[in-house]
C-alpha cells in the first residue's frame, strides 16, 4: 500500500512486442482524473511516456486506456472512483496494436467503421433543399440513440467477441451502421445491411453486453446490434425494417 497522500501507479511501458509495468509515485489530489495522473508522470517523471489526449472534457474520444483492468475514458474518470488502496494500474486499450506505452494504433478500429458501411452517402447535393426529417419519427429516434459516439474504442476493447474473432466488426462500427440504416437521408441503406450481415458482421455478437456496460457515453451498442440482427433477418425474407 502506498503512503498517505501518494498514489502507487503502474504504467505499461513498451509496445506490442514486449514491455513491462513501471511503477511511479504520484501526489494524490482531491480532484484528480486518471488522465491528470498520466500527465503528471509524463511532465515530472517520464518525459518519454507516450499517451494520447486532446480535449480533456469527454468529447474527442482519444484518451481511453485500461485502468485497473477496465477500459475507461481517462479524462473523466476520477482516481477516487477507481483506485484500490491508492493503487492504479494503467495499460493501453486491449484488442488493438500498441504503438508505444499507452498509445494504441486506432487504424484497425476505424477500418472497421468503413467495413461496416459507415461512410455517409448523400442523396442530395448542396444545391438541393435540406431534407425534412421529423425528429419524432421512429427511424430518426433510433438513429439519434447512437450518434453521440465519440469513437473512443472502449467498447471495442471491452468486447470478448472482438478479442476472439479478429474479423468481427465490433460494437462501435455496428452501432454506426444502425444509425445509417435508420437515417432516411442515407443513400446506401441496403449496402449497410449487406456489409453487416457478412462473415464478421452483426450475427457474431453473443449479446454479452460488455459494450453497453462500459460505454462512457452510456450508449447501447447491444441494442443497435440487436436491431441489425432483426433487420438483416427480415431482409433475408424480403422485408424492410
Amino acid at each position: 500500500m502506498a503512503d498517505n497522500g501518494q498514489l502507487e501507479v503502474s504504467v505499461w511501458r513498451g509496445d506490442s512486442g514486449s514491455g513491462r509495468f513501471e511503477s511511479f509515485r504520484v501526489p494524490a489530489e482531491d480532484n484528480q482524473t486518471v488522465l491528470d495522473v498520466v500527465s503528471w508522470i509524463q511532465q515530472n517523471l517520464a518525459g518519454d511516456l507516450a499517451y494520447r489526449f486532446a480535449c480533456r472534457v469527454g468529447m474527442c474520444g482519444s484518451c481511453a486506456m485500461t485502468v485497473n483492468g477496465t477500459p475507461r475514458w481517462t479524462c473523466r474518470t476520477h482516481v477516487k472512483k477507481v483506485a484500490r488502496n491508492n493503487r492504479l494500474t494503467i495499460a493501453p486499450l486491449a484488442n488493438l496494436p500498441v504503438i508505444r506505452d499507452l498509445a494504441t494504433d486506432m487504424d484497425p478500429f476505424f477500418a472497421r467503421w468503413i467495413g461496416a458501411g459507415g461512410r455517409f452517402v448523400p442523396q442530395r447535393t448542396r444545391d438541393d433543399p435540406v431534407a425534412p426529417v421529423r425528429p419524432d419519427s421512429p427511424g430518426r429516434q433510433a438513429a439519434d440513440a447512437g450518434i453521440e459516439c465519440i469513437n473512443c474504442g472502449v467498447c471495442h476493447a471491452a468486447c470478448d467477441t472482438v478479442a476472439a474473432s479478429p474479423d468481427y466488426l465490433g460494437p462501435a462500427p455496428l452501432q454506426r451502421a444502425w444509425t445509417l440504416v435508420n437515417d432516411e437521408r442515407h443513400g446506401a441503406r441496403g449496402a449497410v445491411l449487406a456489409a453487416v450481415s457478412g462473415a464478421g458482421g452483426c450475427h457474431n455478437c453473443h449479446s454479452m453486453g460488455n459494450c453497453t456496460a462500459h460505454c462512457p457515453k452510456e450508449l447501447d451498442p447491444l441494442r443497435a446490434i440487436a436491431g441489425l440482427k432483426r433487420a438483416t433477418f427480415l431482409g433475408a425474407f424480403g422485408k424492410e425494417i
Binding site: 477496465t70 453473443h206 449479446s207 454479452m208 460488455n210
Partner: protein
C-alpha cells in the same frame, strides 16, 4: 482469472447460457443411450433406474433440470432480444430467467423427495 470488465450481469448470463448448453450437449448422448437400453437391455435399464433413485443422484437430477430450464428461459430471452422490439430491461429479464429456472428445479426437487 475473473477480468474486471466482465463483472456485470449480462456477461454472467452469457456464461451461464454457454456452460449450460455445453453440459446439456454432453448429457443428451448419455440420455439417448440409456433410453436405448429399454429396447436392447431392459435389465440393465432397470438397474440404472434403481441407481437413479439414490438421493444424491436425485439431487444431481435437480441440477440437470436447472441447467435445462436456465438454458430454455435464457434462450427465450436471447430470441426475444434479437427478434422482438428491443427491451432495455435485459438485466431484469436475465434475472427472471434464472429465477424461473430456480423455481422449476426447486419444484422438481420438492416432488422428488
Amino acid at each position: 482469472m475473473m477480468r474486471p470488465h466482465r463483472n456485470h450481469p449480462l456477461w454472467f448470463a452469457f456464461v451461464l447460457h454457454r456452460v449450460s448448453g455445453l453440459a446439456l450437449a454432453l448429457f443428451l448422448p448419455v440420455h439417448f443411450y440409456m433410453l436405448a437400453l429399454a429396447l436392447r437391455a431392459p435389465e440393465r435399464l432397470d438397474g440404472f433406474l434403481r441407481w437413479a433413485e439414490l438421493p444424491l443422484v436425485r439431487l444431481a437430477e435437480g441440477g440437470l433440470v436447472f441447467l435445462l430450464a436456465v438454458h430454455l428461459f435464457g434462450g427465450l430471452r436471447l430470441l426475444a432480444l434479437e427478434f422482438l422490439p428491443f427491451s432495455p430491461r435485459q438485466k431484469a429479464l436475465a434475472a427472471g430467467a434464472v429465477s424461473a429456472a430456480v423455481l422449476v428445479s426447486g419444484l422438481f426437487l420438492l416432488s422428488a423427495v
